[in-house]
Each structure stands twice: as C-alpha cells, then as structure tokens.
C-alpha cells in the first residue's frame, strides 16, 4: 500500500502529464493564460505579505501607474509575476523579476538538480527561503520557473504558487515536497479549466475578428489574445476614440468583457 507521499507524487505526475497536453493545444492563448494565472499567483503572494488587495485592485495598481511612478507594494508583486511569466525563462530575465535575489542565486536555482520537476521546485523554495525567509514571492516565482523549465517549457507558468499556503512555506524536506505535490494537483485544477475557458473565448474573438472594420482591429485582437487586461489607451496604434469604440463593439459582440464594472478607467479582456 502506497503512503501519502507516494500517492501525492503519483497524482502530481498525472496532473502534470495532463497539463503538458493542455499547454500544447493549438487553440490556447498561451500568453494570456500565463498572465491570468500570474494575476492569481500575485493575489496569493500579496496575501502572504499580510495585504488584502484582490485581483481587481492589483490590476488597477499596474494599469493606473504612470511610467516612472511606483505601483505600490502589491502592484509591484503583480509586476514581478507578469515579468516572470511574460518573458522566456533566463537568468537575466528572472533576475529582474526577483530583484531581491542575487543573480548567481537565480542561476543556481535554474540549474538545481533533483529526480523530478516538483522536487526541484521544492528545493528552490527551500534554498531561497533559507537565505531570505520573507522572500516568498521570489521563492515561488523561481520555483514555478524551475518546474516549467523541467517540463521543457520556454516560459514560466504560475502553478505551485496558485495553491501553496503560507504554512506550507515553513515546511522543509519531505514535508515541503509533499505540500508541493499537492499544490501541483490543486494548481492544475485551476489552470486546466481556465485554459478551456480562455480557449473558448479565443475562438469566439477570432470568429468575430473578420467582421471588424476599424483600422488596427487585427492588431488589437492579437493584443487581447495575449494580455490579461488592456485599457483602450493601450491600443496606441489607434485614436483614443476608435480604441474605445472597438472595445465597446467587442463587448457587444460578446468577444471580450469589461473587467472593472466602472464607467471610467475601464479595463477590457477576454
């Protein structure tokens, strides 16, 4: 009879095997999927620092900060996650996302050896928190990056971080590995339905795309397929008025949603 640890490891392996197929599906808007999971991961990490901002507030913090201004402690966490999930995994790229961790430690983390992807990720959490106990966000970003890299993906997919609890991060060795195996199953449980949902929405958006006659509409559609949320002003290749009209039209067509529920400072996304 297999023990808890064996069962958890087996289930995590099954979840990852399924996730690898989901990730490779042609219809999936991968970059958008990663950004939206990054938003969930950021919410988890922000809560670990004792703050309570929800996903809407985090989105606002990032979208309403002018260049050169500071998105604040919680907005910064989302920026870190978007940075990590938006660029191919590399020492330099991740180094910028986790700027409290030395570059050589990032390199060591990425080269960590271990029998399975999840065990490597668990080791990374342990190593990072050993040196800097309050760097939970950085530890989770690096752990998910290592997990993704071990699965042969070019980009970091927020996964473990969707489900690890603050008390899990205080565990070490076998107990931490067990928590990570369970978190992979729970994380995949969020990532897989989200992938299905976003794939359906992407198909819908692509279906209405030929009916859009505004200049720049094709570029806008591509952006919506790759970003969690966009203010109309982000469609800076169109006039402000045209961008707003296009967003409204896409909402009317049921291809995108307005995400804030506000009348002004609106954000749109799939």
């Amino acid at each position: 009879m297999a023990g808890n640890a064996e069962v958890a490891a087996f289930l995590a392996g099954a979840a990852l095997a399924h996730l690898v197929l989901v990730e490779a599906a042609r219809q999936l808007p991968q970059a958008l999927w990663r950004e939206r999971l990054a938003l969930i991961a950021a919410e988890v990490c922000v809560a670990m620092t004792g703050r309570r901002e929800g996903q809407g507030a985090l989105r606002d913090a990032v979208h309403l900060t002018r260049p050169g201004d500071d998105p604040g402690p919680s907005g910064r966490v989302l920026q870190q996650w978007l940075h990590a999930a938006g660029r191919p995994i590399s020492v330099v790229g991740l180094g910028r996302a986790v700027d409290g961790v030395a570059t050589d430690s990032v390199a060591l983390c990425l080269d960590v050896v271990g029998p399975t992807p999840v065990e490597r990720a668990a080791q990374v959490i342990e190593v990072v928190l050993e040196g800097t106990p309050r760097a939970e966000t950085e530890a989770l970003i690096l752990a998910d990056a290592v997990l993704s890299k071990s699965l042969g993906w070019k980009h970091a997919l927020p996964l473990l971080s969707l489900a690890l609890k603050p008390r899990d991060l205080r565990l070490r060795g076998g107990e931490l590995r067990l928590a990570c195996h369970r978190a992979v199953v729970l994380g995949a449980g969020q990532a897989v339905p989200l992938a299905a949902d976003l794939s359906r929405r992407a198909v819908r958006l692509q279906a209405v795309a030929p009916r859009l006659r505004a200049r720049g509409a094709a570029r806008a559609v591509l952006l919506f397929l790759s970003r969690d949320a966009l203010a109309p002003s982000a469609l800076n290749f169109m006039s402000d008025r045209a961008a707003r009209r296009l967003c409204d039209r896409l909402v009317d067509l049921g291809a995108i949603r307005e995400l804030t529920g506000r009348d002004s400072f609106r954000l749109y996304g799939l």
Binding site: D60, T65, R66, D69, G72, D99, A102
Partner: protein, 197 residues
C-alpha cells in the same frame, strides 16, 4: 560629482593585484560607496565598482564579517544595502547631537500622516482626509516627498484621477526597516495601548 568620462578610467578588474588583495579592495570600494550614500544602494550600482561578474552578495557578506565589533553595520534595505550605526548606540548619538531630529525635521502630525501612508498605501489625499477627518495639505505631502519618504503611486480610478502616495526605500532606511512587513502590527499596537482611538 565626477564626470561620466572619468568613470571609464576606473579599474574594475584590478588584474595586477593578487586575488586576496583584489577581493579586499573590492570590499573597501563597496564600503566606501555605502559610507558616502545616505540612501540604500542597489546591487547593480555596487556591481559597477567591482570586477564584472563578481558577486556583490559575497563581498557584502565578507564586509559584514569584517565590520563585526564596529559600532556600525551593513543593513539590507529593500533590494539594496546601507551602512547604519548599531541601535545600541542610538542614545550615545543622541547625547552628542540631535542628529535624528535634524535628518527628518518633521512634526508629529507629519509623522502621523507618514504612518497612515505606510499602512494604507497606495492612498490619496482624500483617503488620508477620511482617516484624519481633516484636509491633508499639499504642503505636508510636499514635505514628505521632498525628503524622499514618499513617492507617487497609481492614479485612483475616479474623476480627476488623483494620485496616490506610497512609501519609498528611503522611508524604510530612515525607520530601520528592511521591508514594509517590519511595520508594527496595528492590532498589537492597540492591545498595548500605544494608540489612542
């Protein structure tokens, strides 16, 4: 300030020194930069005075060991480091001169507003008005911003898009904190009767 042109003359590699002396010189450079700066210095800036690819973190670690027994130490602040006297020497420094007061020179109410910003950031002047029950003047915000204790955060999503304010790394350094998580727990403050409600 040196001109940009003279920076290229800085010998990073120190190839003519034996390895141990080279390491020592890099440590001294980092100590000199930290000594000269009132604000925390980021890793990238420190990396500019040592050999390419040399670990700033290891140099700082050795410097910390080196400074053991001195009345000051290297402290981590946010993503950088700062040289700071040991807390045990605070009364001594105060006895000699009121240096702490001179650095900030803020009224009690200024400090209360600063604390409110620290706990509730990002927060706008309207948000502060709600907390204090009175208008928070632009002058007061200006005094805090002038000292680099606060900066501008995201705009609020409503009419006029007012700015919010957030604390800076200099704020952390000034109050001896490594991150905002070092802020005292407000509930504990209430329990110990340190705040009036």
């Amino acid at each position: 300030m040196k001109k940009a042109g003279t920076e290229t003359a800085l010998d990073h590699e120190l190839a003519d020194l034996p390895p141990d002396l080279r390491w020592r010189e890099w440590m001294r450079r980092i100590e000199a930069v930290l000594f000269a700066s009132a604000a925390p210095v980021a890793r990238d800036d420190l990396a500019r005075v040592v050999g390419p690819g040399v670990s700033v973190d290891l140099l700082i670690e050795d410097l910390m060991v080196d400074l053991a027994g001195r009345p000051y130490q290297v402290a981590r602040v946010g993503a950088g480091w700062v040289l700071r006297t040991l807390p045990a020497y605070a009364p001594v420094i105060r006895a000699a001169a009121d240096i702490g007061g001179q650095v900030l020179n803020l009224s009690e109410f200024d400090l209360a507003v600063l604390a409110a910003i620290a706990y509730h950031q990002p927060i706008s002047r309207d948000g502060l008005k709600e907390i204090f029950g009175r208008e928070i003047s632009r002058d007061m915000i200006g005094r805090l911003a002038e000292r680099d204790l606060i900066g501008t955060g995201p705009r609020e999503p409503r009419r006029g898009a007012p700015y919010t304010f957030v604390t800076t790394e200099i704020f952390l350094a000034a109050f001896g904190m490594q991150s905002l998580r070092d802020l005292p727990d407000p509930e504990l403050l209430l329990d110990s009767g340190m705040t009036h409600t």
